[in-house]
């Protein structure tokens, strides 16, 4: 990770957790980052381009309404309801310490804009809150699609919030647009995979296949219990159900496809169209060659990666090496940071390090590099926050948020070789 340079760092006054960083992908293609800290501060970070072409980092504290004094933020999630415009919904779970008794009040606050909008205004969103009172301590908050079928066609596809809690259950919240409220729905009608677990669920990942007929859900608990389920969304029947137990706190599960299908690129400019890549092959590879892998980050034990879980379930696995036995693995990101077409695993640890693991053809997964950071790491994201097409590594640590940018000379070299491979006369050799 020598090629990464420190682009920016901003300090957050109180520490966040593994749930408190999310990104907002705006309709115009830019990305903003939303980071919450324990003691109520929520920061919106973005890059603005100055007139002279410099990137000016801007961190703005957003005051979300209905987060009372003394409340603590647990988790944060956001999604865009609209496909073409900005209609963001932001969910924040909080704990409120009640003054008179020892009881804790917990809430899921859902912030949204009244209507979809060309401009993104987070201040407006922050003022428009719907409250859901919870009777458990919230854990992981995420969103996913709820797909309902009518025969062979999708009747509706809406986004719902999924929240795991200390009551050992997973709750699903759906918007009732007519009443403008969010209500919990019965899991067994739509999400049969979320059953009662032996301990609170720490992380959930949901992956839909391209035509939304199937869903792969994985979740893991504090005690190390981990489940992987494949669900037919048309019948709501579980196709398979695997579970295993790791015996330690699991911090993260993540389902990721491999390889990411190289799509072709259609360039249109001033009457000129140019198609890069191979249009015919791309559609074929989509369904045949794509494998789904599942990575499970254990906090104490080594991380485990399950290859091709559709085919093999949890049997074809590899253990990822770790170099010390005292740190806690807190988060991971899968990203192709060296542009070789294969994803690397980045794992953040409490030992102020990011481990870069790379898959070697012969030796399997190897620890490629360790990058030292200034504080224990809580979250990693590989997103394009600068808006130049190149993704940056955004790292949430206990002290703040670090933005690491690719080195430009390395990028240009990579770009040169990519262009060269595309301009080679023999299309057959490209193997797109």
């Amino acid at each position: 990770m020598e090629q990464f340079k420190d682009a920016h760092y901003f300090y957050i006054p109180s520490q966040g957790n593994i749930y408190t960083m999310t990104d907002l992908k705006l309709a115009n293609g830019t990305t903003k980052l939303l980071v919450a800290s324990l003691k109520r501060e929520i920061f919106c970070f973005e890059y603005q381009e100055s007139s002279t072409g410099l990137l000016v980092p801007t961190t703005k504290e957003v005051s979300f309404t209905y987060i009372p004094n003394g409340a603590e933020i647990i988790s944060l999630d956001a999604f865009n309801k609209s496909a073409t415009k900005n209609e963001f919904v932001i969910g924040i779970t909080i704990i409120k310490n009640s003054n008179d008794s020892d009881t804790l009040e917990t809430y899921l606050n859902i912030y949204s804009e009244w209507e979809e909008n060309e401009d993104f205004n987070i201040e407006n969103i922050a003022q428009n809150c719907l409250n859901v009172e919870l009777n458990f301590i919230p854990y992981k908050l995420l969103h996913t699609y709820l797909v309902t079928w009518q025969g062979d066609s999708i009747r509706s596809k809406e986004v719902v919030f999924i929240l795991s809690g200390s009551d050992l259950q997973v709750h699903v919240y759906r918007e009732h647009s007519s009443d403008h409220v969010y209500k919990e729905i019965e899991n067994k009608d739509y999400f049969p995979e979320f059953i009662k677990t032996p301990s609170p669920v720490v992380w959930i990942d949901v992956y839909y296949n391209s035509d939304y007929t199937e869903r792969l859900t994985s979740f893991a608990c504090e005690c190390g219990y981990m489940k992987l389920l494949r669900i037919d969304t048309r019948t709501n029947k579980i196709i398979y159900n695997f579970s295993t137990r790791f015996g330690n706190y699991i911090s993260r599960v993540h389902i990721f496809p491999e390889p990411d299908v190289p799509s072709n690129f259609l360039l249109e400019t001033r009457g000129l169209t140019k198609c890069l890549g191979n249009a015919d092959e791309a559609s074929d590879t989509k369904n045949t060659n794509k494998k789904l892998n599942l990575i499970v980050i254990n906090t104490i034990l080594p991380a485990v990666i399950f290859h091709d879980v559709i085919e093999y379930g949890l049997t074809n696995y590899a253990t990822l090496p770790r170099h010390d036995t005292t740190s806690i693995l807190s988060c991971c990101e899968l990203a192709d940071i060296d542009f070789d077409g294969e994803k690397e695993v980045l794992i953040g640890t409490s030992a102020e390090e990011i481990m870069l693991l790379k898959r070697d053809k012969e030796r399997g997964w190897c620890l490629e590099e360790l990058k030292k950071m200034a504080a224990p790491i809580l979250g990693i994201k590989y997103i394009d926050i600068s808006g130049d097409g190149v993704k940056e590594l955004v790292v949430l640590s206990m002290k703040g948020v670090h933005v690491l940018q690719h080195d430009f000379t390395c990028l240009q070299e990579v770009l040169d070789s990519k262009i060269q491979s595309l301009t080679l006369p023999n299309i057959e050799e490209l193997k797109l």
């Binding site: 980092p57 249109e268 950071m373 262009i419 060269q420």
Partner: protein, 506 residues
Amino acid sequence: MRAISLVKKIQFDFPGNVVRNALTLGDIDNDGCNELIVGNQNGDVSIFKGQEKLHTISKLSLVSCVEVGDVLNENRNVLVIITADGWCYIYSASDKENETLESSGVDDGVEQVDGQAQSTSGSGGETLRSTDTPSSSTKQYKKDDDKMDLVCIHKQRIPANAKNILLGDVDGDGMIEMVLGLTDRVVRSYRWIGNAHKHSLSISDSELEFDSSDKLLGKFVALNKWECANQIGSITLHHSWDGTASLLIAQPGGTFMRIKCNSDESAGHSGMENSQSNSSSSQGETIPGSVDYQFLGISRMRNQNISTEILGDLKCSHDGCEKSNTSFSSQKTETSKTSTKGRPYAVATLDGTIMLVQDEVILWAIAVDHQVFALTKLDVTGNGSDDIVVCSWDGQTYILDQEKNSVRFHLDEPVQAFTSGYYNVEPNEPAVTCLVYVTFKNKIILYYDIPLKELICKKFEPDLEKLSELFIEEGRKPEEALEIVKNIDKKTRKELVEYLLYNVNS
């Protein structure tokens, strides 16, 4: 403002309070590697090299300044320690060259040189006379540590209350002088006059009974004394475009006093020459050089009492100078010698104003919300021009280049002394940039290898010529392809870059 976090650091334990100038980076043992030297108010001076503490000199009094330089003009660095109660110590690492140089015996040449004669102040003379009093701590040579043998080679009484030290050639004679700023608004300059027969002494010979206060090797002779109107912030050496040296003495309210003490000035001519050849002559009231006060335009609006730091001789790469010249030439029509601009210098005040000044014209000024107390220069990015590194009491550090681009670093702790420079973490590796903080928790934190290649952040701009290769087809010339690429709008170009990087297998 862009900010960074720093990872690579070394922490040293160093108890006691450290005053601002009792901290320096320099090569004491002349091995090409920089060491860190810190002195505290209890009279301990520690030398850190690499990852460890190398040596500690103790039982001095309140250390107010430490500096490393060739003050003896022997082409080797020595360590100069000034204590607040008026002792000047010179420590030298024993090196083998000295032992080989053996010459004739000692004579009474020592007594011919007395600093008192050159001092223009009566009180200074009295203090200097006390150099003859025997010292209590004499044998300072190092015993147990095999890596560095630091020997006190000289000890001399000087006027008390020194707070700033500067080693440099202030009068353009090619010799390095020592300039001290005192808390009683006085600036004094000294020159080392070596004893012609000093080579008879082998300072590294531990068998020799050697009293460092005997002035066997030579002594400091006072050259000049200047009194300022106000408290001294800091002292810096600055060279104008023609190479004439001047001393800039920071005065409260963002102002400064400039002293030109060139030997070619007629007024000060005699004094300079005398002190070199026949130092017994007394020149009385002749003040060599010229003194002027600079108010830098905007200073009238500010608090007149705010303490000020100044730093001269900012190295700038040729491009940088050219750029600032053109942009400010319109304002400078009167003194329009565009080709003969002086180097810029930086002024910082405690209220958080940082200014870059060139030929008494403020190129730019920025205001920060922190109390800036330390002003240093360091070529952080390695592009050949010095960046300004300032630190505030609360640990906020700003790195500014001469084009006003800035990067911030925050040490989460209050700072009592700060410096920046080069440090050798590993003896065999080249020196790396470093920021040194002395905190109030008996720790010195040294951040090294500052990962800043440039101070600005930009979007990635692909090489359009390369990109145009994608569009070279039959019947299209390269120029036309380039034209196409140039006309792609920003969003599409961004998507194209993203596609090429992440979706094409090379």
